[in-house]
């Protein structure tokens, strides 16, 4: 079946796009369309006008002071391949490289993944541990939105109607001298490829020379109404060495960071156990690398 779209508009500038979105409540931005087209076909979204973001030049990955800026329309395959991302934000590169399969990665954008706000959005945990800051633009002006407060619930963000996400800023990790950085993204699902996460985890550990943690950041997907930072588990690890006792404590604390449910993909009990496994494996690896 076709989708009930009457009109597609291709603005040439961001200003034109935001002006359109401000005046047409029936309009919605479309980037790669890999979420939106599916939802339109299923009848889960009712929109008659699409504003195509492709011509707005928002698909760049740029090194800026203290960080890297990624345009909202950057495709997953560019993110997965960019050396700037691979070396500085390996969890994000890995996450982008596991979204769907190659054809999807050639369409799917970072902005679309975030604004769609699925609890399973794979780039979200990676951005959470990086402390990313998003930039939103509307006719009312520009505002920064820390990713930590961006997601409100399944499919819901703090973005206001008519607001466009234009870029994502990722600050470079601070690694004190003598410390090393370990960053990973992993997901658990029902097969090897083309997996929508049953649980995903992004972890960043700054490990001191003596093997204790200077800092640990953890974020998970598909275990709560939004992607979540695991602050309690992080606190349980701070300053410690990832021996068995510490790992067990972190896994225990993690259970209070997450609130999974039973759904068609897995029961909550499995999600809790899988989250524990992914965390434990990350910590073991952090100790080893």
């Amino acid at each position: 079946m076709d989708v009930p779209i009457q009109q597609v508009i291709r603005p040439a500038t961001i200003a034109e796009a935001t002006a359109l979105l401000a005046t047409r409540p029936d309009a919605r931005p479309i980037a790669g369309g890999t979420d939106l087209m599916v939802q339109l076909r299923d009848g889960r979204k009712h929109i008659s006008c699409l504003v195509d973001l492709d011509g707005l030049g928002m698909a760049e990955i740029r090194r800026v002071d203290e960080g890297v800026e990624i345009g909202a329309s950057t495709r997953m395959h560019s993110i997965a391949a960019a050396s700037e991302i691979r070396s500085n934000f390996p969890a994000l590169a890995a996450a982008a490289g596991t979204i769907g399969a190659w054809p999807i990665q050639c369409r799917a954008t970072l902005g679309g993944n975030l604004v769609n706000a699925s609890p399973a959005a794979d780039t979200a945990p990676a951005l959470l541990i990086a402390g990313a800051v998003l930039t939103a633009v509307s006719t009312a002006g520009t505002r920064p939105l820390p990713v930590a407060g961006f997601f409100v619930g399944p499919g819901r963000t703090v973005l206001m109607p008519g607001e466009l996400l234009v870029s994502v800023f990722l600050p470079l990790a601070q690694v004190p001298p003598g410390c090393r950085l370990v960053e990973r993204f992993v997901k658990a699902g029902p097969r090897r490829e083309q997996v929508i996460a049953v649980v995903s985890l992004a972890g960043r550990a700054v490990v001191r020379a003596d093997g204790t943690f200077e800092e640990v950041r953890l974020a998970l997907g598909s275990v709560a109404p939004t992607p979540v930072r695991a602050r309690r588990a992080e606190a349980a690890l701070m300053g410690r060495r990832p021996n068995q006792e510490t790992r067990r404590g972190a896994v225990q604390a993690l259970q209070h960071d997450i609130a999974p449910i039973d759904d068609v993909r897995a029961p909550a009990s499995y999600r809790r156990i899988a989250a524990a496994v992914l965390l434990d494996r990350f910590l073991l690896e952090a100790a080893r690398v």
Binding site: A120, D262, V264, I273
Partner: protein
């Protein structure tokens, strides 16, 4: 990935194409996208059909409001049961299913009204606006509960549809020192054909109609359409459209959309195309049956089987369809290729308000094989024997040839040969000789699955076991072949082409096999039961024999030899005793044309009559059998519960290879589909509603999940069809999931009796052996949160 043993199959010059691997005739058109499937077909004035369906599994229909549906722009017709010109009935065997519900709905997706409109969007929008007053009725969703006396009745006569049995010897008095019992819950499966169900109905007044349908049996469709329109069979022409996958899902089900499209086409006097959206297709079309299988099997101290008791319940869903036929096959296949002196099998078919059970590659055999092979491993362990040795002691062979029904298999019985070939390919001994890696969460295992498959139709379906072919020699020596069996991706065109080319001594490229059409060949029954190459091939050989009655005299005249000395080979008619004395077949055909000799002949095949007692289950349910052995190697993540099937070694008793690539394609495809069924494909139901009706959440294997596949082909001069060939379509799938299950059980050291082996199933089975089992406690303490935590 695939290792071939090519050397021994290379064609010898002049031997013909049999067993070779020339290019499939349908390959290029399919790969290049020029094949036209139903959804690609359009006619001027064509309308699109849609269907209004019940959202609940059991209810009384107290009213239908069609006004808003009729008001949708572009809608040409909205029809209910009262508008059907013939009988309001679908179903192949039993008259329990209406085309459109009148008083009661018994399953989610039951049809209430039909819509035809100028666009598919308008048709579906109108269908969604059909308002039905449905008063909920009690429903039953577990097949075992359905058979209890106080269960809600799906149909007035009760939920037990039929019981099949095999009773041989006295299991109660069998002397067994080791007895195991188990209850297996085996889930269903979605066919996941690439092309959804669809057809195009083209009326000619109210006199006759043509249906172009994606289907496995144009004759079933013909009967169904004739019945709902009240037409004689001759007024209904069904042409099989190129069909993008069937796997059993297009055996009986296509009759339903075809009947809908036909009724709409007659009502509007316009062509009507009906293509099911994927989600609806997955909800309403037939599925592999879920089964509950109870076993009590015993062996003596020396590891020989003494008795086997099997009690199976099939979940038929709300209508019988062909569930009884599936049960009939499952029943006699319950024991596998083993020698057991005393057997008691009962197989009951139960109505429920769940998905519509039907044909699916293997036809009931994969489920009972999964259970039988699980029990074989259990018993082996109980006897302190390894699974290989235990099977060696119990397999049927040329000395012990009686299967559970008492039928004596014809020689050679190749079960042992298949087992040993697979064992060698898999490196079973090496694998088990070396110490297994045990550090870390990854566990390796290897498991065996063996299957005995009765080729062609069961005794109960013998009346359908016939087929028709037409062979037309063209004036240029090329050949048209029409058969009554269908190509649905499995390679039947290539098989028929090879058989005809071999018999006529021409190049395969000179033979064109066309899709069946009910006006060109006789009713040949369905393309199922791995009978495609067999049934069409036998009819082709018969047609070629008859054609030669006209061709040989002309050849003899040109060659100046006796008619009996004419031989067809390598593109020539030649003298058997003097092969250099020859004329090209093209010249011979030209000669026949100029002399106005009829270059067309028909062929017919029917299976031999057999004796079988449906009450005791004793006798010869099938004419001959194929054995298959798969050995799977797995790596299980014992913490996340993810099973990775790394390798499957498959040995198949195929009789004779007709086309090597088609054969290997079937084996590879069967293994992939069997792996999916065994590990990740799960039909998740909520009160009869399928919760995962799309490929987002119905998890079929991707290319990355496909194991490395090794194939051993066992040929023999035993019983079989054309040139001695047996079927391969289903034996290729039947043992895979069983082998995978046994490999996982070996890897983890615990029994798992539920299929599929998804990560949550495995983690649950691990219970307290899982290092993080304790975190699930947290869940129980904290209770459930309200919000949806996982979405797209």
């Amino acid at each position: 990935m695939l290792r071939r043993e090519r050397a021994h199959v290379e064609e010898a010059p002049g031997r013909g194409p049999l067993g070779g691997h020339h290019e499939r005739p349908d390959a290029r058109a399919k790969v290049s996208g020029s094949t036209r499937y139903v959804a690609d077909l359009a006619l001027p004035g064509m309308l699109h059909a849609a269907v209004a369906v019940a959202p609940v599994a059991s209810a009384r229909v107290s009213g239908l409001d069609l006004a808003s549906a009729r008001a949708v722009d572009g809608v040409e017709a909205v029809l209910t049961a009262a508008d059907i010109p013939g009988r309001n009935l679908v179903g192949v065997i039993f008259e329990d299913q209406p085309l459109l519900a009148r008083e009661k709905v018994r399953m989610v997706g039951e049809r209430l009204a039909l819509v035809a409109a100028r666009t598919p969007e308008a048709a579906w929008a109108a269908a969604h606006l059909v308002h039905a007053d449905l008063e909920p009725l009690p429903a039953v969703h577990d097949p075992v509960q359905a058979l209890e006396p106080d269960a809600p009745r799906v149909h007035d006569a009760g939920n037990l549809i039929r019981t099949f049995r095999v009773v041989r010897g006295d299991t109660a008095r069998a002397r067994a020192s080791v007895v195991v019992e188990a209850e297996y819950r085996v889930g269903g499966q979605e066919h996941a054909y690439l092309e959804p169900q669809g057809c195009l109905a083209i009326p000619e007044g109210r006199q006759r109609i043509t249906i172009v349908a994606s289907c496995q049996c144009p004759f079933y469709v013909q009967h169904a359409v004739a019945r709902v329109l009240g037409l004689p069979l001759a007024a209904v022409r069904v042409e099989q459209a190129p069909t993008g996958g069937g796997f059993g899902g297009k055996e009986d089900y296509p009759s339903e959309p075809a009947a809908c499209a036909a009724v709409l086409a007659f009502a509007t006097a316009r062509p009507v195309r009906f293509v099911l959206p994927r989600e609806l297709d997955m909800q309403v079309s037939s599925k592999r049956h879920a089964m509950v299988i109870r076993h009590r099997w015993g062996a003596d101290r020396s590891g020989h089987l003494r008795f086997a008791e099997v009690e199976t319940v099939l979940d038929a869903g709300a209508y019988i369809g062909i569930s009884t036929v599936v049960a009939e096959r499952a029943n006699v296949s319950s024991i596998g290729p083993y020698h057991v002196p005393a057997v008691r099998v009962s197989t009951r078919v139960a109505y429920t308000n769940n998905l519509f059970g039907g044909a699916f590659r293997g036809f009931g055999t994969p489920q009972v094989t999964w259970a039988a092979e699980a029990t074989m491993d259990r018993l082996a362990r109980a006897c302190s024997l390894d699974p290989l040795e235990f099977r060696r002691r119990n397999l049927l062979d040329d000395r012990r040839r009686r299967l559970c029904t008492g039928q004596s298999l014809r020689r050679p019985v190749l079960a042992r040969e298949c087992l040993e070939r697979a064992v060698a390919l898999a490196g079973w001994d090496e694998f088990h000789a070396r110490p297994r890696r045990q550090e870390g969460p990854m566990r390796e295992g290897m498991g065996i699955g063996l299957a005995l498959y009765g080729c062609n139709l069961h005794h109960g379906g013998q009346h359908l076991d016939r087929s028709s072919a037409v062979v037309i020699l063209q004036p240029d020596g090329s050949v048209v072949v029409r058969v009554g069996l269908t190509e649905m991706g499995q390679g039947n065109l290539a098989a028929c082409q090879t058989i005809a080319a071999q018999a006529l001594g021409v190049e395969p490229a000179h033979v064109q096999v066309w899709q069946p059409d009910t006006t060109t060949v006789g009713d040949s029954g369905p393309t199922v039961a791995s009978r495609g190459a067999h049934a069409s091939g036998m009819a082709i050989l018969n047609a070629v024999d008859r054609l030669r009655k006209k061709l040989d005299p002309v050849a003899a005249e040109l060659l100046e030899c006796g008619e009996r000395d004419v031989e067809l080979a390598g593109g020539f008619a030649r003298v058997r005793t003097d092969p250099d004395h020859r004329v090209p077949i093209a010249r011979l055909a030209g000669e026949m044309a100029s002399r106005r000799i009829e270059g067309i002949s028909t062929g017919w095949y029917r299976s031999r009559k057999r004796r079988f007692d449906p009450v005791t289950g004793l006798g010869d349910p099938y004419e001959f059998y194929a054995v298959a052995c798969h050995i799977a190697r797995v790596v299980v993540d014992a913490e996340l519960g993810l099973v990775r099937v790394t390798e499957v070694s498959a040995a198949h008793d195929v009789g004779k290879v007709i086309h090597r690539d088609v054969l290997e394609g079937q084996i590879q495809g069967g293994i992939v589909q069997g792996t999916g069924w065994g590990t990740s494909e799960e039909l998740k139901l909520d009160r009869g509603r399928l919760c995962n009706p799309s490929f987002t959440d119905y998890i079929i294997p991707t290319a990355a999940d496909v194991p490395s596949i090794r194939i051993a082909v066992v040929e023999s001069e035993g019983p079989g069809g054309p040139f001695g060939a047996k079927g391969i379509g289903e034996p290729s799938l039947i043992p895979t999931a069983a082998a995978v299950r046994n490999a996982v059980v070996e890897a983890l050291g615990l029994e798992i009796d539920r299929l599929p082996l998804t990560p949550p199933t495995i983690v649950e089975a691990l219970g307290n052996r899982h290092p993080f089992a304790w975190v699930a406690e947290e869940e129980r303490v904290r209770g459930r949160s309200e919000e949806v935590a996982a979405g797209r």
